[in-house]
């Protein structure tokens, strides 16, 4: 699904809720082609080689990411073991449970889960970095005292899956009705793509909030879809005039969908049916032009999803695409139980899939044009509930690709002591020290969103970029510094 028409009134209403400055609103409207005088679009200066894509891998369920990356400096590791108890990974076991990262900062050293040897290799060769203690925030919260003061705005429904998984995708933790970050980026940038029927945002995981915009919807595709299998099922050539009948049948389907309906539900499903039919025509042609990749992928769903993405990147010219986002979901991380055994199975799947995708981008010569990262609902309690952990807050993400300053640990890796001022309870729930806003801001700026439009993508960003907001963000001012 690509575009939907939106009334300007509705758009401004949404924008006002997002507390945009008038200057920024003007810019966004210009970019959206809503102003008749929109002759120039300063940030859309692109050449055919200026292709960029971001790939978001959602580890759905709230991954226990304080076992993805573990501090190994002697006293920090001892603290990790004391707090995590039965969930702690050993740094002396055989076979190893932890793999060292080639990284040291003021004596702090780290290892990663032994299931992620490919990630270890990519980290050590500068292709991948971690972002630590990152989470949903409306504004910075320095410590438990500030959190309890009632003076700081706190995300709605903290520790709840449905809220936190949504807020990681919207970056608007004060709202349950906000649209998504990639959706907002598509609102502004989709005109860079030359075929309106081919959505900028493509999902391998069905509907998702991250890719829902004010004006744009995602296009959903399955990793098993091929040129031959997508599109309407048709009468076989056994019927004498099958071609004609199929054309009539399919036109009737489209006509039924395209009628003018008064009822909002009729209208919504009708619009969806029409845009689906149009989009699929374009994707069918693109996929029929695919020359298979030579990179091999594992036989996992996640690897197959990333393979499909690599294929779509390969045929991007048939989709008229200068900018694309892709969304993948790998679920099953809600490890209230048996977290050690489950991660031993699941992290190699993630690690190998990331590596294979990186290989595919290299094959396509697109390694400097694509950025891939992981998100999750939240991290889990540092303490155990027996052999699992419960819902918490700040966690750890991975980000991969040529544009990234690889081999780094960004953000502030927190103390894992239960007496840390960031810890909110005896369970070990950490206040994030890096916001989802800051993370997406750097990705959005790299992707081509102009600094003036950043507040449209991330309505709370000025709570983190003070004091220069709402004036344009100075180029190069990047608190995390993920992009080299």
């Amino acid at each position: 699904m690509s575009k939907r028409k939106i009334s300007r009134r509705a758009f401004i209403g949404e924008a006002s809720c997002a507390a945009l400055g008038s200057m920024t609103l003007y810019n966004s409207l210009v970019n959206l082609g809503m102003m008749t005088t929109a002759a120039t679009r300063p940030h859309i200066i692109s050449t055919p080689s200026d292709y960029k894509a971001v790939v978001c891998i959602l580890l759905a369920g709230g991954a226990d990411s304080f076992n993805f990356i573990v501090p190994t400096e002697t006293s920090e590791y001892a603290q990790y073991v004391a707090t995590r108890g039965s969930l702690a990974l050993s740094n002396s076991a055989t076979p190893p449970q932890l793999l060292p990262l080639n990284y040291s900062n003021n004596g702090r050293t780290f290892s990663i889960h032994a299931g992620m040897s490919a990630v270890q290799n990519m980290f050590n060769t500068g292709k991948l970095s971690f972002v630590t203690n990152i989470g949903t925030l409306i504004e910075p919260i320095a410590n438990k005292t500030e959190y309890n003061s009632g003076m700081k705005k706190v995300p709605l429904g903290l520790y709840s899956h449905s809220d936190q998984i949504m807020q990681w995708q919207t970056s608007v933790p004060q709202s349950r009705s906000a649209v998504g970050v990639a959706g907002r980026m598509a609102d502004i940038l989709q005109d860079m793509n030359s075929i309106p029927e081919a959505a900028m945002n493509i999902s391998l995981a069905g509907k998702n909030r991250w890719q829902s915009g004010n004006e744009t919807n995602e296009f959903s595709i399955s990793n098993s879809s091929t040129a031959a299998t997508i599109g309407y099922s048709n009468y076989s050539s056994g019927l004498s005039n099958a071609v004609y009948l199929n054309d009539r049948k399919n036109k009737a389907l489209d006509s039924l969908a395209a009628q003018q309906y008064a009822n909002l539900f009729h209208k919504t499903i009708g619009d969806l049916n029409v845009t689906t039919s149009e989009s699929i025509e374009v994707f069918k042609v693109a996929m029929s032009n695919l020359v298979p990749l030579t990179t091999t992928f594992s036989a996992t769903n996640l690897s197959n999803d990333l393979k499909k993405i690599a294929e779509l990147i390969k045929v991007r010219s048939f989709l008229g695409a200068q900018r694309q986002t892709f969304f993948v979901s790998y679920g099953g991380w809600d490890h209230h139980d048996d977290v050690i055994n489950n991660q031993n199975v699941m992290l190699p799947i993630v690690s190998n899939a990331l590596n294979e995708f990186n290989n595919a981008m290299t094959e396509l010569g697109m390694q400097d044009n694509v950025v891939t990262f992981t998100i999750s609902d939240f991290a889990r309690t540092l303490t155990s509930n027996g052999n699992g952990s419960d819902h918490a807050w700040g966690g750890n993400s991975m980000i991969m690709g040529g544009p990234i300053d690889g081999g780094n640990i960004f953000g502030e890796f927190p103390s894992l002591s239960l007496t840390s001022p960031l810890n909110l309870s005896n369970r070990g729930l950490l206040i994030p020290t890096t916001s989802v806003d800051e993370f997406y801001a750097e990705i959005a700026l790299w992707f081509g969103v102009s600094p003036n439009d950043l507040s449209y993508i991330l309505p709370n960003i000025c709570n983190f970029y003070s004091p220069t907001c709402p004036a344009p963000v100075p180029s190069g001012f990047m608190p995390i510094g993920m992009f080299s």
Binding site: L245, L256, F265, T268
Partner: protein, 593 residues
């Protein structure tokens, strides 16, 4: 299906609403412009018969009602409701027995395989659960229970995307809880769910031990949180009409915080398998899932637990974990949020996505008190939902905000019901894997405890702009939209309505052949001549779409169907199939209203 049915009652309410928006009340059976398009052996009076508190519904009204109260229905069902009246029909459904339990059906299949293969150790397979579910829903008359049970399975969600995903005993036994409690009391349902090992495993409170502060180990919070957030009270305080109670700052008020969750988590400790004598063991075998969990008091958290609204679970000596759990269930069952929370959920599942606050409040009030002082009476709640003027009022036809996207799996059942899918032996088997592949819905296959879709989901576009919700749109994307249309191609145009497979390798072909479903289009193929096509379409419009397809849509469909030849029996059948395919693809069908 009745062989002599040819009567079509044409109701202005559904096709010419603009002309008569306020005077026609569909559920109470006033009809304007009744038109008989064909003769019939039945003799329908032009005037309705006064009965109970209203009139007998006409056929379109019956179709609309059955679209809310069942997963699918045929022409006889429509006639039955028209003759009985809605309330009598509901009462007749309440007393229909549960013919068999799904878990016993699974056991039958399992024994059949053991015997047929002469392998006493043969394992159960996932397919047995699917077959049991389908057999029940095709062959049993308790269709209201079936509809309500499916709604409940989308509230108290467990899924085969879990540790017991391949275990037919676990899935069938859990679904039995939904069927058994569709007409009991909400509290009974909460209890049966809480003690069911499928839920215990799904939300990880089976083998949940008490605290061990020395090792920083605390009770698992999973069930404590979701029981509150998803199954009873939700995250924000509600008024009886479902709206948020606002605090002095104008913001919604949290119903609980993380401390409350930790307190509830203490309650749900100490439960484990009923066929184990010690705590913290794995399941003894597949059938362990059919036994309610039992309490191991030595693993239950001792001490007081501070629950909601000042309720305190006492420090019981000796420890009595079951009593603690009963207290916690009671605390949530009696919470003021539970009636509007459950009322809104069930209205959205059965009737419309955006019920008015008054509608929610009317149903919530019945949850609080069924009229005889009983709280949580499911029969009263169901009646309140289905007999409400908002469920039946013809104004819905004119209200641009009224309606709900039909759940894709329900559409699938409807095909099988509307056209009397039958087998030679009367035994059905259906793996339901094609429908799942096409539309990503099938009972107990939700991707997470948050169901296939969430109640507050807003699709972008006109629904969202009006600040309304459309839950079912959450599983409506390019893949499932195209998948649905192509599923109609398979199920209807190719008449491949069910997925029948062997129960064991090299199963006897004769048994298999006797259990292949075929649909009955005999009444329809009589109506495929060009001069009768309008009658065919009227009939299908009534049967499938409550007469909601408008003249322009019917014209589009008729024009294409006319393109197909109409000579041989197969050609006539092709015309019918295409008509069904197009009707069931149309927006006016897809929205239940």
């Amino acid at each position: 299906m009745s062989k002599n049915f040819v009567l079509i009652i044409y109701l202005l309410c559904t096709v010419a609403l603009a002309a008569q928006p306020d005077t026609v009340t569909i559920g109470f059976g006033e009809y304007h412009g009744v038109m008989v398009s064909a003769s019939s052996s039945h003799n329908y009076p032009p005037e309705t018969t006064l009965k109970q508190d209203g009139y007998l519904p006409n056929l379109n009204a019956s179709s609309r009602f059955l679209g809310q109260a069942t997963l699918g229905y045929n022409m006889e069902d429509l006639q039955e409701v028209s003759e009985m009246g809605i309330e009598d029909w509901i009462d007749s459904q309440f007393v229909k027995p549960i013919p068999f339990s799904l878990k016993n059906k699974v056991k039958d299949y399992h024994n059949f395989v053991k015997t047929a293969t002469n392998t006493p150790a043969a394992g159960q397979i996932y397919r047995m659960w699917s077959y049991a579910w389908w057999q029940y829903h095709m062959a049993s008359a308790d269709v209201l229970r079936q509809r309500v049970a499916m709604a409940l399975s989308e509230l108290f969600v467990v899924s085969d995307k879990s540790a017991f995903g391949g275990n037919s005993y676990a899935l069938s036994s859990y679904y039995d809880v939904m069927l058994n409690n569709a007409f009991t009391n909400y509290r009974d349902l909460m209890e049966d769910v809480t003690f069911h090992p499928a839920m215990g495993v799904y939300l990880t409170f089976l083998n949940n031990p008490k605290s061990n502060p020395a090792t920083n180990q605390f009770p698992d919070e999973n069930y404590a949180r979701e029981l509150m957030q998803l199954f009873t009270i939700g995250t924000s305080k509600l008024n009886m009409d479902g709206s948020y109670v606002l605090g002095t700052n104008g913001q919604p008020i949290q119903t609980y915080n993380n401390t409350d969750i930790a307190e509830f988590a203490k309650v749900f400790t100490g439960l484990s398998w009923a066929d184990r004598t010690t705590f913290n063991r794995s399941a003894a075998n597949d059938t362990s899932y059919t036994l309610p969990m039992i309490m191991f008091n030595s693993s239950h958290e001792t001490g007081v637990k501070n629950l909601l609204n000042g309720f305190v679970v006492p420090n019981r000596v000796p420890t009595d974990g079951i009593a603690d759990i009963q207290d916690a269930i009671g605390n949530l069952f009696n919470h003021s949020n539970t009636p509007p929370f459950v009322a809104k959920f069930l209205i959205q599942r059965l009737v419309t996505s955006n019920p008015s606050p008054d509608y929610i409040e009317r149903v919530a009030n019945v949850f609080v008190n069924n009229g005889q002082g009983v709280r949580g009476d499911m029969k009263a709640i169901i009646k309140a939902i289905l007999l409400d003027p908002e469920a039946k009022s013809c104004k819905s036809g004119n209200d641009v905000e009224y309606g709900a996207l039909r759940e894709p799996f329900v559409r699938y059942v409807q095909i099988n019901k509307a056209f009397d899918a039958s087998t030679a032996s009367g035994n059905y088997r259906n793996d339901m894997d094609y429908v799942y592949r096409f539309v990503q819905q099938k009972p107990l296959t939700s991707p997470s405890v948050f169901n296939f879709f969430q109640q507050e989901y807003q699709p972008i576009g006109p629904i969202e702009e009006a600040n309304l919700v459309g839950p079912e749109f959450q599983i409506t994307n390019a893949q499932t939209i195209m998948g649905y249309v192509n599923s109609l191609y398979r199920f209807v145009i190719q008449e491949n309505v069910a997925d029948e497979y062997d129960l064991y390798t090299n199963e006897d072909d004769a048994t298999y052949a006797n259990e292949v479903s075929t649909i009955d289009l005999n009444d329809e193929v009589l109506l495929t001549d060009n001069n009768k096509l309008h009658i065919l379409l009227d009939r299908l419009n009534l049967l499938l779409a409550q007469g909601r397809l408008t003249a322009p849509s019917l014209a589009i469909i008729k024009n294409v169907v006319t393109e197909l030849p109409n000579g041989t029996a197969t050609e006539k059948r092709d015309r019918v199939r295409l008509a069904i395919y197009l009707i069931m693809s149309s927006p006016e069908y897809l929205i239940n209203r």
